[in-house]
């Protein structure tokens, strides 16, 4: 039973990683950049919904919507002000800018909300589910379902909707997409909007599970989700799901059965081993280099 319960906990943590990793993967696929500030958008999302629950007294679901809106705007503004001027710059310059944005968000949060730890209220109002001796918390169920819904929605969006197809076109070949009349800037903005809205969802879910909120809350899940995106093959949506779930399960299992302190080391060691066997991640596309 302990095994099954750990497995389910792993799935739910992995679902959150997968939702965050989607933001990394989509931005990487389309803008070819590592958006290091993504983890901090999670933190902003969590703070906004904390404020709206405590200070404005909104119901949790409304708080979630408000934080999604705020993060969407934030993501688009960050892209417009910080990343768009660097569209043709070297990838390292963009990476450093993203790190700068990450510091900026953390320190603005520090000024607004101070470094005092806030205890995040869970947004899930129903209790745990008991099946025999197995207990599944409401947060677990909600995060797994949310992840599945988001994955299906996003897959449909990228295959059926016009904007989604435009996103795939831009990620395939930016110049060709532009020649076909697709506005690259608009598409990238949409990508950031979706990624940041998902980050808000992930932030609220993550903080419902681990209710400690400080300005650096986003950085650890951010790094883990980035790892998950690479594990599954960065740029691929199903890969992100696989990578996220795998990472979550490995983390919970190594915490439960091997060592509490070494769980992060084990997670990263698995990443290294997988990249050695499959250098482009589990479901990543193999890129052949033309000379």
């Amino acid at each position: 039973m302990a095994f099954l319960s750990n497995f389910i906990n792993g799935l739910s943590l992995g679902s959150i990683y997968a939702i965050i990793a989607l933001g990394y993967t989509m931005v990487y696929g389309i803008a070819k950049m590592l958006n290091f500030a993504h983890g901090d958008v999670i933190m902003v999302g969590a703070y906004v919904s904390f404020v709206s629950i405590y200070s404005l007294g909104t119901p949790p679901i409304l708080a979630l919507l408000i934080s999604m809106c705020v993060c969407t705007v934030l993501g688009v503004v960050i892209e417009r002000l910080a990343y768009r001027p660097l569209r043709s710059a070297a990838s390292l310059a963009v990476l450093i800018t993203a790190i700068g944005v990450s510091y900026l968000l953390q320190n603005v949060a520090l000024l607004i909300w101070t470094s005092n730890t806030k205890v995040f209220p869970s947004i899930v109002s129903f209790g745990s589910l008991h099946i025999g001796s197995l207990t599944i918390t409401g947060e677990t169920i909600v995060s797994i379902i949310t992840c599945v819904v988001i994955m299906i929605g996003l897959t449909l969006f990228t295959t059926k909707a016009k904007t989604g197809k435009a996103m795939r076109a831009v990620s395939e070949n930016r110049q060709a997409a532009e020649l076909m009349g697709i506005s690259v800037n608009k598409t990238i903005s949409v990508t950031f909007a979706i990624g940041s809205a998902l980050a808000a969802v992930a932030g609220v879910l993550y903080c419902s599970m681990y209710p400690v909120l400080v300005p650096t809350t986003g950085s650890i899940p951010g790094i883990k989700a980035f790892t998950a995106a690479v594990l599954g093959g960065i740029g691929s949506i199903p890969g992100t799901l696989v990578g996220g779930l795998l990472l979550g399960i490995i983390e919970i299992f190594s915490r439960a059965y091997i060592s509490q302190d070494l769980s992060d080391a084990i997670v990263f060691a698995v990443l290294i081993i997988i990249l050695l066997v499959k250098p482009n991640g589990l479901l990543g596309k193999k890129v052949t280099e033309k000379v």
Binding site: L92, T97, A265, G281
Partner: protein, 351 residues
């Protein structure tokens, strides 16, 4: 004089001379007590970050591979340096010799880890390589965080979990970190180490290996097809870079009374990377200047305590955006031309 004729070695000599002059001036000012206490406290960290930036520049600027885990090598150097000083303290009485021994041991151990990590890492490319270096940095931090080492007359005893019954006195005590027996670092040692590291890198970059590495950076396929062994050259640069980071780690550790593994985290790696990128990839001079400025800047901004990291972040973003703005670059070039033209006119007028 032959050295003076080649442009690169002339540049190197100028850089080296400038560093020696500035550092000597600072050294004597410090001896004379002319520096404020906050600035003189920053001298050793400045040396540490100069070495870190130079060594990361070798990996990122010269070798062209993004490393996000450089602080890991620094921490290996730091912890092995502490172990070396504690266990050799009885045998070597002279503090200077003890420090040299610790720096060598820290450097060699970091080089060994650099080699072991390089085997898997250097097979990967681009962003995948970057994330694996990040992963190694986190693994090193995590493992050092669970490491317990004690010393007694029989020697060193180590364990990997808390609550282990180890005989003797703790040197490394898990998350609480390592206790440094005596403060051995000073600006003089840091100064000499910076000069040595600069000389090594300058020579390495202009050696046969250095040219091969730059060829690999610019076009790996072409380099391979003219018969360069890519992995072996990459490994050389990576190991040298790791060894230098290890030495910087020893210098850093010996400046404090205790060090914790979590000090050498992702943020430390990133701030060194920022120094390299702001200073200009592959430029030694740039790395040195950026390391000095970025180490002092947060201290200078201490007056605006709440806002200093915010200002740092904004400066970082603005510099990156300006540096890739075509109009700004054009403006810089015209400005440079105008200034040189002005000097020329003055000289012509004198004649």
């Amino acid at each position: 004089m032959r050295l003076w004729k080649s442009k690169t070695s002339r540049q190197n000599i100028i850089t080296l001379a400038a560093v020696i002059i500035v550092f000597s001036a600072v050294f004597f000012m410090n001896q004379g007590g002319m520096l404020s206490s906050s600035l003189s406290g920053q001298l050793v960290p400045i040396c540490v970050y100069i070495i870190m930036a130079l060594s990361l520049n070798l990996t990122v600027g010269i070798l062209g591979e993004l490393s996000l885990g450089h602080a890991g090598f620094m921490s290996i150097g730091a912890f092995s340096g502490v172990l070396a000083v504690t266990s050799l303290g009885q045998a070597i009485g002279n503090p200077l010799l003890l420090m040299i021994a610790a720096i060598l041991i820290g450097g060699v151990l970091a080089a060994i880890f650099g080699f072991l990590i390089g085997i898997p890492v250097l097979r990967l490319r681009g962003d995948y390589l970057a994330i694996v270096t990040l992963a190694f940095g986190e693994i090193i931090k995590n493992v050092l965080n669970c490491l317990y080492v004690t010393i007694d007359p029989d020697g060193l005893h180590a364990a990997m979990f808390s609550g282990a019954k180890l005989p003797g006195k703790f040197i490394i005590n898990g998350p609480q970190g390592a206790t440094v027996p005596e403060k051995l670092s000073n600006f003089g040692i840091g100064f000499v180490l910076v000069i040595i590291v600069m000389l090594i890198i300058m020579n390495f970059v202009h050696s046969k290996e250095g040219r091969a590495i730059k060829a690999i950076r610019d076009n790996p396929i072409a380099a391979e097809s003219v018969g360069l062994n890519i992995t072996s050259y990459k490994m050389k640069a990576f190991v040298i870079s790791a060894a230098m980071a290890g030495m910087a780690g020893v210098l850093f550790a010996m400046n404090y009374s205790a060090i914790e593994a979590k000090k050498f985290n992702f943020n430390t790696s990133i701030s060194v990377l920022v120094m390299v990128v702001l200073g200009g990839m592959g430029s030694l001079r740039g790395s040195i200047v950026a390391a000095i400025v970025l180490t002092i800047l947060p201290e200078l901004l201490r007056g605006f305590d709440d806002y200093r990291m915010l200002i740092y972040a904004i400066v970082l973003i603005l510099v990156m955006i300006l540096n890739s703005n075509q109009r700004f670059l054009q403006f810089k070039i015209t400005l440079k031309k105008k200034i040189t033209a002005m000097f020329r006119k003055k000289e012509a007028a004198k004649k």
